[in-house]
Symmetry: C2
Subunit: 283 residues, 2 copies
């Protein structure tokens, strides 16, 4: 017997991974969660039918969501992570000795528990002393919180289902208010290639640009996401990720990374012309 997981990346494009076995299947109050094992991609997490991460390429996503803002401002002390239930973002953050506190707000406890059991590769640092887990709606958390953060990372699903609120103007406004005077916001920002993803990307960019003095988009290659060309938004009150970037400061930390390096940092902001145009005119 052959078992294949298939994701319709658009109505007309399908991506499939041959499965060795299903390790977990659960329906939480929020979403359908599956974890499979495979020869090609190792263990992988599916939420509502969509690839969230695979063991083989998650290093790319987590390197880029964490090290780009942290290398822009290595003095970050307090971090808020919205989403990121698999723990990969927190894992990379905990490598910085200078970070004192990480609040992680994940709506779905089942995601975290399933990943702790079946994806220890990403979830193993969720018990770091500096990490506080909050199982609640990210929108409600940022509306209520009175903390100040140096960095907010929105490690969300697509803007469908529980992730939808994390793409709204109100959410970005609350993030702005929770950020310190030199705070940075990084958000999962979809892709420029397929129309459906590009539309969501443009909507998010338009909102964030209207709020932050510095708003950019950076790219990376994510093999298991539709088209493989994926983006993060970088918004900031003070630091420009290129002009204020001091590669030697990050390199002095001695962190080993498989995807990120200080050249990739710079190159990731060098967008193809068609993407640059979308970001400049996101209407």
């Amino acid at each position: 017997m052959e078992l294949w997981y298939t994701q319709p990346q658009t109505d007309n494009i399908r991506f499939s991974i041959k499965v060795k076995e299903e390790l977990f299947s659960g329906k939480s109050p929020y979403q359908q969660i599956n974890i499979f094992d495979s020869d090609e991609m190792g263990r992988f997490l599916i939420i509502d039918g969509i690839v969230m991460l695979t063991s083989k390429d998650e290093f790319i996503y987590h390197d880029m969501i964490v090290h780009v803002p942290m290398a822009t401002n290595p003095d970050v002390k307090k971090v808020l992570v919205i989403g990121g239930g698999d723990g990969g973002t927190v894992r990379e953050l905990t490598r910085y000795a200078g970070i004192e506190k990480i609040d992680m707000v994940e709506i779905d406890r089942m995601v975290v528990e399933a990943c702790q059991k079946y994806l220890p590769l990403t979830a193993s640092k969720l018990n770091d002393k500096r990490v506080q887990l909050h199982f609640e709606n990210g929108m409600e958390f940022v509306r209520r919180s009175k903390e100040k953060y140096d960095l907010i990372i929105v490690d969300s699903t697509d803007p469908i289902g529980p992730g939808e609120g994390l793409f709204t103007m109100e959410f970005y406004k609350c993030c702005f208010n929770l950020l310190s005077e030199d705070g940075i916001l990084v958000n999962q920002c979809e892709s420029p290639f397929y129309e459906k993803n590009a539309k969501e990307m443009r909507k998010a960019v338009k909102k964030i640009k209207s709020l932050f003095p510095i708003s950019k988009v950076y790219q990376y290659n994510m093999p298991t996401y539709p088209s493989g060309h994926w983006l993060f938004g970088f918004a900031s009150k003070k630091y420009d990720p290129i002009k204020d970037f001091k590669p030697e400061k990050w390199e002095a930390l001695g962190l080993e990374t498989k995807y990120y390096n200080t050249d990739v940092h710079i190159g990731s902001f060098m967008l193809p012309t068609y993407v640059r145009k979308m970001v400049e005119n996101p209407e």
Copy 2:
């Protein structure tokens, strides 16, 4: 009825495009050629079951295979293209008024004729006055030729079937000998991500590095190729694609491009750490 084209990108990964209709199917002495039409990717060319190009993303491949070397040395006058039967590489080359002669060597006349009929988007410039088509084996052409070229572009299929000879030491040596003193070689160089592609990439890089004083690899995002993370090799006798790059010289030409720009040029050489390591130690 639904018709889907499916490519096994590895033994365990499949990529599928929903097909509107088949426009062409032919078996040449060298390979099986199919052209389909689709809603998502427009018309697309399949050779021996593998995506060669789709109308939606071919601009990325052709921008990067042509404009990176041409922007490194905008004074190129004589070009040799090996492969590239779809005509996209020649199309981009013909936009440079300074190019005086383009020899294109394609083993398979049926590919060219099918593309001229069904893919005029890429094949329309093959009748440019400066272009001379040679329907023969690329290996034999470079072994025999006594010309000198400023640029050789190896726009080949994977190193299986008729493309195999274009990944050999003898082929690269012949290319070296055909290049002028400031000549540049660009070659389709597979991908770092899936093991099978990465192995071929390392083998090609190792051979080319042993011959050329300057040998680099640059990357681009190609949604319909396995993993979407694809590479070209850049080898040269004189010009470094970064140190000798004069963006303003290329910009003065006023060419409009959808993917390439002078920032992307620089960023494309900024490789992720794991790719950099493969290129530095291709054993």
